[in-house]
């Protein structure tokens, strides 16, 4: 009986050891490779398949030391927050941008990627403003996976029907929207249904095109108050825009980007204002099967303050990539990030998934004509943006560059639009929130626009 007990204990110990070692993630996977883990948002099945082929299979075949595993998770943001807080989580940290990274760097949750930057020449390959935005005290902690710009999607067929051309100034844009409204259409379609931070897109858009990137840069440095008259004028302009029905009229709260793209393709509106990443939501509505691929166009939003350089871009990233400081496979995580910071990866992903993989490379030689479908206008839009960023003509997307509580404060811009609060009170709240975060060192380094 005693022998039996000892055997049972031994078996239990072995089982526990195996279980614990499996939890630790350090056991070499099949084939003797070290497993690298990455959590990603719950993309649609077709996009998951594409990512499996191009990223996972591509990376795993490219070397024989690491085995990448990507987990798709609809609650990835929250789960990464909790996992990092507990010094756990994936090796490659998928975050929402430099501001996200800065908050975690302050708590020592992300690894210094500077040695890997030297090893892989990232500084020479990545657009300077985007590279710098991922640094804290001169050390690199994150790289953006893709450029993003808040601009104007338009349906050429609807514009033709309305008898207007593609607008190049705000006066032309407003005239086209007035004409659409008179014809019983939406002036534009967009909305924050299911995702309140969509509001940040429009706060950022008006800050860039009315206040100007330099004013916002000064505010982020703390040399200008967020209650600056130029910033107040930008918020007022956004209010005027909303109240004229230029942001989906009364349906702003009832639409999301997918539904907006459907309405745009159905000819219910000439425009959709939104981030370039929304190209990925357009593929179901604008495609060769529907015969309307060429109807969709994308352009930068025209400046409201005409003294600003044009074309002007609201610089942002769709996400950021970092290395978990608790990872036991930092070299492997860096190898994955390096694999993703290449033109070949960007073009392979963009061929079937336009909108999410414009890697911010200084040198992006791919020609739009090499692509088909919506990938073509998307690549053109991103090449235009890279040129604009290199010239310094940009502002800042709140979700990427503003510290978390400040960005959340800008989510409340709909309170101004709907008359629940004044521009002055709204900006005072922003200013107070920003001052607290700046004191805590949560403001990421931002590139100075020209």
């Amino acid at each position: 009986m005693r022998i039996f007990k000892n055997k049972a204990l031994a078996a239990g110990a072995v089982a526990a050891a195996l279980l614990l070692s499996a939890c630790g993630g350090q056991t070499p996977s099949a084939g003797g490779k070290q497993q690298i883990e990455m959590w990603f948002w719950g993309a649609p099945p077709a996009h998951q398949k594409e990512m499996q082929q191009v990223l996972v299979d591509g990376f795993n075949k490219s070397q024989d030391k690491y085995q990448l595993k990507v987990t798709f998770d609809n609650a990835v943001d929250k789960n990464i927050d909790v996992a990092l807080a507990a010094n756990r989580g994936p090796d490659v940290v998928y975050g929402s941008g430099p501001a996200f990274a800065a908050a975690y760097v302050a708590k020592g949750k992300l690894a210094d990627m500077t040695p890997y930057s030297d090893k892989y020449d990232w500084k020479d390959r990545i657009l300077d403003p985007m590279y710098e935005s991922g640094t804290v005290d001169g050390k690199l902690y994150s790289l953006p996976n893709s450029l993003n710009n808040i601009g104007v999607f338009y349906n050429k067929a609807v514009l033709d029907k309305l008898g207007v051309g593609i607008p190049t100034t705000t006066a032309e844009l407003n005239a086209a929207m007035d004409k659409a409204q008179a014809a019983g259409l939406y002036a534009s379609v967009t909305g924050n249904k299911g995702w309140k931070p969509v509001n940040e897109n429009y706060a950022s858009l008006f800050l860039t095109h009315a206040a100007g990137g330099k004013t916002v840069y000064d505010a982020l440095q703390g040399t200008t108050s967020w209650t600056d008259p130029k910033i107040a004028a930008a918020i007022d302009a956004s209010k005027d825009f909303y109240q004229k029905g230029y942001l989906a009229g009364k349906d702003y709260s009832n639409l999301n980007f997918v539904e907006s793209m459907q309405l745009l393709s159905q000819g219910k509106a000439p425009f959709m204002f939104g981030p370039s990443l929304a190209f990925q939501f357009a593929t179901d509505s604008f495609n060769d099967k529907n015969g309307n691929t060429n109807d969709l166009g994308f352009m930068p939003f025209p400046n409201i303050d005409e003294s600003l350089a044009s074309p002007n871009f609201t610089l942002g990233s769709t996400a950021s990539l970092s290395i978990n400081n608790a990872s036991k496979n930092k070299d492997g995580a860096a190898a994955v990030i390096d694999f993703m910071m290449t033109e070949s990866f960007s073009t392979d992903m963009t061929k079937t998934w336009p909108g999410y993989w414009a890697v911010p490379l200084k040198k992006f030689d791919a020609a739009p004509d090499e692509f088909t479908g919506l990938s073509k206008p998307y690549v053109q839009a991103m090449k235009d943006m890279i040129a604009g960023v290199n010239e310094g003509h940009y502002g800042f997307f709140a979700g990427t560059f503003f510290p978390p509580a400040t960005a959340t404060a800008f989510d409340d811009i709909d309170s101004v639009w709907l008359g629940k609060t004044s521009t002055t009170d709204f900006l005072k709240t922003v200013d107070k929130t920003f001052a607290e975060e700046k004191a805590k060192g949560l403001v990421p380094p931002v590139p100075e626009p020209k």
Partner: protein
């Protein structure tokens, strides 16, 4: 068969063997009782008391939820919250939520349960049907309402608009949004109340009902003077549970409006969530959580007081 009667000694009378064994039996039982209680007690301490105490502590700090370091900030989280108009909007909406849930689903539940009492053959089927929204995941119910009812293109709202009825989607309306969200939650909840009330009504002694009928009482009088007093305890318990749940409301608000537009449908649950997971201000989120718990505690005290008062009658 013989009987022998012995006189017990004085010592045995002072400390009889039966009393000793009874004492040790009671001691053993007490230990066993505590041992049996221990797992549940330990679980309660670990799952309820420890997080509760940590939340209370966090509410006086600037903890950002990312690490283990935090600074003591005194009452500033609370003063910031009380200076924020959004907090009072959220509190007001929670109070509206309580009032709505204490009236509409309760009235519907009582009415339906009363009607089902007479449907002896089909009431099981009705109960299953009424429970369906309750057993479905909130995300499914929310999607159904967003797509089929509130959708301005294809939903009931869209259908009415296409026919020239100028209806504004209620979720986008500043004055209507909280009622539109509460409507979905009440739709999912009232069937559950029906089943609970029906179960309680069926416990009413049939003699009382028959006596009332013999006395010539009509259906409403039987309900008012026979059933209602009999289900008083159930009504009271469900009332308290409704108050507690109403101050914890979160899922349908988050799924349908995320507290918008312009915080018009904000409740304290979504208000705290935004602090925790959008702004990384877990200290403030904990402070809101404490305030939410306060209202639940008040409801619990009232329930306990009413229950004890009933017992002493």
């Amino acid at each position: 068969m013989t009987l022998s009667l012995k006189t017990p000694s004085a010592a045995a009378l002072q400390n009889p063997p039966g009393a000793r064994s009874r004492k040790s039996f009671h001691q053993r039982r007490t230990i066993i009782n505590y041992l049996l209680l221990a797992p549940a007690l330990l679980l309660s301490v670990v799952v309820v008391v420890v997080p509760g105490v940590l939340t209370a502590v966090a509410s006086f700090t600037d903890w950002d939820g990312l690490g283990f370091s935090a600074n003591f900030v005194g009452m500033s989280n609370f003063t910031d919250i009380f200076a924020d108009p959004t907090f009072f909007t959220a509190l007001g909406n929670n109070i509206k939520w309580v009032l709505l849930f204490l009236t509409i689903p309760v009235a519907l539940g009582l009415l339906t349960a009363s009607l089902l009492l007479r449907r002896k053959r089909t009431r099981t089927l009705y109960q299953v049907i009424y429970l369906m929204p309750y057993v479905l995941a909130p995300v499914v119910n929310a999607m159904v309402w967003l797509s089929i009812i509130y959708n301005p293109h294809g939903g009931v709202v869209g259908y009415l608009r296409d026919r020239g009825i100028g209806i504004e989607p209620p979720l986008a309306n500043l004055d209507m949004s909280i009622f539109a969200v509460a409507g979905v939650d009440m739709w999912h909840y009232w069937g559950f109340l029906t089943v609970i009330y029906l179960g309680a009504m069926r416990q009413t002694p049939i003699e009382q009902v028959e006596a009332a009928m013999v006395e010539g009482a009509n259906a409403f009088q039987i309900f008012r003077h026979v059933y209602l007093p009999n289900i008083r305890a159930t009504l009271l318990l469900m009332g308290v549970m409704i108050v507690i749940f109403s101050f914890l409301a979160f899922d349908y608000v988050y799924l349908l409006t995320q507290g918008g537009p312009a915080h018009s449908s904000e409740v304290m649950g979504t208000y705290a969530y935004a602090f925790a997971f959008s702004s990384f201000q877990f200290g403030k989120a904990a402070a809101v959580g404490l305030i939410m718990s306060f209202f639940g505690l008040v409801a619990s005290f009232i329930y306990t007081w009413l229950s004890r008062r009933d017992l002493t009658k």
